[in-house]
């Protein structure tokens, strides 16, 4: 098994190399087969790993020494423990489904081979990220996925807006990366190693200053903010929807954006030592969750709605992390990967059918033309809204319960508010798209068709997962199946800190859990019913952009955050750049240097005047020189 582990990331890498170098000359079928086949193999290997890890614990594979400088040693090594194998399964499994889907979705695109090459490269980076045995390996993957995200968002590069969005994503990620990088430095300085096992083993021995731990946690969290699109670095994610829809599903919903969650969960021994850092994580998560949900309420682009929903859900995960409920966050990562991938792929199917149309005001009534898509979309929406027994129901409920337990009523209330807002805009999206009358053009109406099977099968698989995913980690009090199966599996690496501290103030009564669950569930149901009436029965339509007023206009314009960033950062930097070039270099330093040159030249000019060709001056000078000479010699 050990020897095969490097194959898991390097099979997709191989796929990338083959498709990248020779893809142009291969048929679309072979490109698709190579791309998806590599992933399938990785997925199967991951399952094998899973079994072995479940049976005999973590596997560590040292591949080669990446570099050793002094005592700074970084190995190209893999650590496959419960947490990483879990992520590997998500990445390769969902990745495989999305690859298959892309065969259909991207079929008519000229850059088909390039698309698969990039996707494979992305999977490679993502696997490095989760499988790396140290923080530097994680950083490889971390930047690698950022790069692939850049390439894929800007996939249709002829459009300048798209490549701008790609650039924005990469740069915002890089801001976070700097934080992560500094965090890694500080960790190395404190613990003398960047390998997870060493770091966590040395915590007790080194016993660092709490302030240092907090600094480390905050620096790492900056990285997580960038990657997982948290306030203030979230604006790239909605723009990233410029990429092809499978990309949005894979990168910007299921896998890459959860890297931040993974990072915090991975470093949970550090975070658990720093209540301050956890507090901030929770606060940022909560703010993001509500903020993005509010914006999501008034978006009319089907992908933008999903994007804001992703940001909001990621916020919720950070709330869970901040509450010390690492497992709950990972659980939500998992279920979210299922239903959000489903939703995105469903949206892709819609866009595919509508010939590129993304505005839900021009859709409606697609239920008849796209029955499978409609059903899976419905499942996805209900799952994210918290419909009983669907995936999101369990994972969200667990987060709410933990928030209540660790944070109290206020936190719970706000987190719940975020959840409810999610339900509202998701239902709005669902009903506006699939119910009511078709509002598009005649041409589009003729064009409407269900997607081919390569696209629908992944949808169906994901729908099944969205239904069943919740049973991975059923709470104790429901007494169904194996309670807390996932938590038990992850126990050796991550565990909810409030659960492990057994009882005391953190543990909730069963009755409390029941009442919390009933409350949130009934709210979700209520929202579903109400929005059905509002959007499907009464068919109230969102107004055109120009007619928006008041708060909804602010929401539709995303609180003007992009404009604000533009005004606060982008424009000033560009201005400074020009000013520095003009006043700093051309006029300033260079002028100074040239000034010295001119000074010398000018002095030369003055001296030149003495050389006026008039002998008497020369003679006078000679005499003066002789006088001086004698003076110095004899006086």
């Amino acid at each position: 098994m050990e020897a095969l582990i490097p194959l898991i990331p390097f099979l997709p890498f191989l796929g990338f190399v083959v498709n990248g170098l020779f893809g142009r000359n291969l048929s679309k079928t072979s490109v698709g087969l190579i791309g998806s086949g590599a992933l399938l193999a990785s997925f199967l290997l991951s399952i094998a790993c899973f079994n072995q890890v479940a049976a005999s614990g973590p596997i560590q594979v040292l591949w080669y020494n990446f570099f050793t400088v002094g005592n700074f040693q970084v190995n190209f090594a893999f650590l496959v423990d419960q947490l990483s194998v879990w992520m590997m399964l998500i990445v390769t499994g969902i990745g495989f489904l999305i690859h298959v889907y892309s065969i259909g979705y991207m079929h008519d695109d000229a850059g088909f081979w390039k698309f698969f090459a990039y996707l494979n490269l992305f999977i490679f980076s993502m696997l490095l990220l989760v499988m790396g045995d140290n923080l530097v390996m994680l950083f490889f993957g971390w930047e690698g996925v950022g790069l692939c995200s850049y390439l894929l968002i800007g996939f249709w590069y002829q459009n300048k807006e798209y490549s701008k969005a790609a650039r924005k994503a990469f740069i915002m990620n890089r801001i976070g990366d700097l934080g992560l990088l500094l965090g890694i430095f500080l960790i190395f300085k404190t613990f003398g190693s960047v390998a997870y096992t060493d770091i966590f083993a040395r915590i007790a021995g080194v016993n660092p200053d709490p302030a240092i731990i907090t600094t480390i946690c905050l620096l790492l969290f900056i990285g997580a903010m960038g990657k997982s699109a948290q306030i203030p670095l979230y604006t790239w994610l909605p723009d990233a929807m410029a990429g092809p829809t499978p990309v949005s599903a894979l990168i910007h919903a299921a896998t890459m954006v959860t890297a931040g969650i993974y990072l915090v969960a991975r470093c949970n021994p550090l975070y658990s030592l720093s209540p301050d850092a956890l507090h901030l994580v929770a606060l940022v998560g909560l703010l993001t969750s509500i903020w993005a949900a509010l914006i999501g309420l008034r978006q009319n682009d089907i992908k933008k709605v999903l994007a804001y929903s992703t940001v909001s859900q990621l916020g919720l995960m950070f709330v869970a992390l901040g509450m010390g409920a690492y497992v709950s966050a990972m659980f939500h990562v998992t279920t979210h990967a299922f239903f959000k991938a489903l939703l995105f792929l469903g949206a892709g199917s819609v866009i595919h059918a509508m010939g590129g149309e993304q505005d839900i005001r021009n859709m409606g009534g697609l239920r008849k033309a796209l029955p499978i898509t409609c059903w899976v979309f419905l499942i996805g929406t209900f799952a994210i809204s918290g419909f009983p027994l669907l995936a999101g129901f369990f994972s969200k409920d667990e987060i709410f319960a933990n928030t209540y337990a660790a944070g109290g009523r206020l936190w719970w209330g706000f987190a719940g508010l975020g959840g409810m807002l999610t339900a509202i805009y998701m239902c709005r999206l669902l009903f506006l798209t699939f119910f009511g009358n078709f509002r598009g053009t005649e041409e589009q109406k003729h064009h409407l068709h269900e997607s081919p099977w390569v696209m629908t099968i992944p949808l169906i698989v994901l729908a099944v997962l969205s239904v069943a995913g919740g049973f991975l980690n059923v709470p104790h009090f429901l007494h169904i199946g194996t309670p807390q199966w996932m938590a038990h599996f992850l126990e050796p690496v991550v565990h909810n800190s409030n659960l492990s501290h057994g009882g005391a103030p953190h543990h909730l009564e069963e009755s409390t859990e029941w009442s919390l669950m009933i409350f949130t569930t009934s709210m979700a149901l209520l929202i579903i019913v109400v929005s059905y009436f509002v959007y499907a029965v009464r068919r109230s339509l969102p107004v055109a952009d120009a007619e928006q007023t008041g708060i909804s206009k602010i929401l539709a314009h995303k609180f003007y955050v992009d404009e604000m960033y533009d005004f606060l950062f982008v424009k000033p930097i560009e201005k400074i750049s020009q000013l520095l070039h003009y006043f700093g270099d051309t006029r300033g330093i260079d002028n100074l240097v040239n000034g010295v040159g001119r000074g010398v030249e000018g002095l030369g000019g003055q001296f030149r005047k003495l050389q006026n060709g008039n002998m008497e001056y020369y003679l006078l000078g000679m005499v003066a020189g002789a006088v001086l000479l004698f003076l110095t010699l004899y006086m």
């Binding site: 050389q611 006026n612 060709g613 008039n614 008497e616 003679l619």
Partner: protein, 106 residues
């Protein structure tokens, strides 16, 4: 020992030739007529000649006087060429004013 060597200190000759030399310099500086300037130069050369001759006598060494001959040679050559040039210049400028001779400037 010669009478002159006994009775006149060498310093007198030094002072005398210095004085003549300085008069020459002064003349060169003060006059604008190239002709007179040349004459002043001759005067300066003579001051030096005098000094050489004096030392030659005082040291009973003929070399000083030989040197004087050579200086005379140079002075004669200089006068010949200098005056030739002067005539030439006068032909072009109708003047011997050295202020006009700033062609070196450029």
């Amino acid at each position: 020992m010669l009478e002159v060597v006994r009775t006149i200190p060498i310093d007198y000759y030094v002072y005398l030739s210095t004085l003549l030399f300085c008069i020459g310099v002064f003349g060169v500086l003060i006059r604008r007529n190239a002709m007179v300037v040349l004459m002043c130069v001759e005067l300066m050369l003579n001051a030096v000649n005098l000094l050489l001759a004096a030392f030659s006598t005082y040291l009973s060494d003929a070399q000083g006087q030989i040197m004087v001959f050579f200086i005379m040679v140079v002075a004669a050559a200089e006068a010949a060429v200098g005056l030739g040039i002067l005539v030439m210049i006068y032909r072009n400028t109708k003047s011997t004013d050295i202020y006009l001779l700033d062609n070196l400037r450029n």
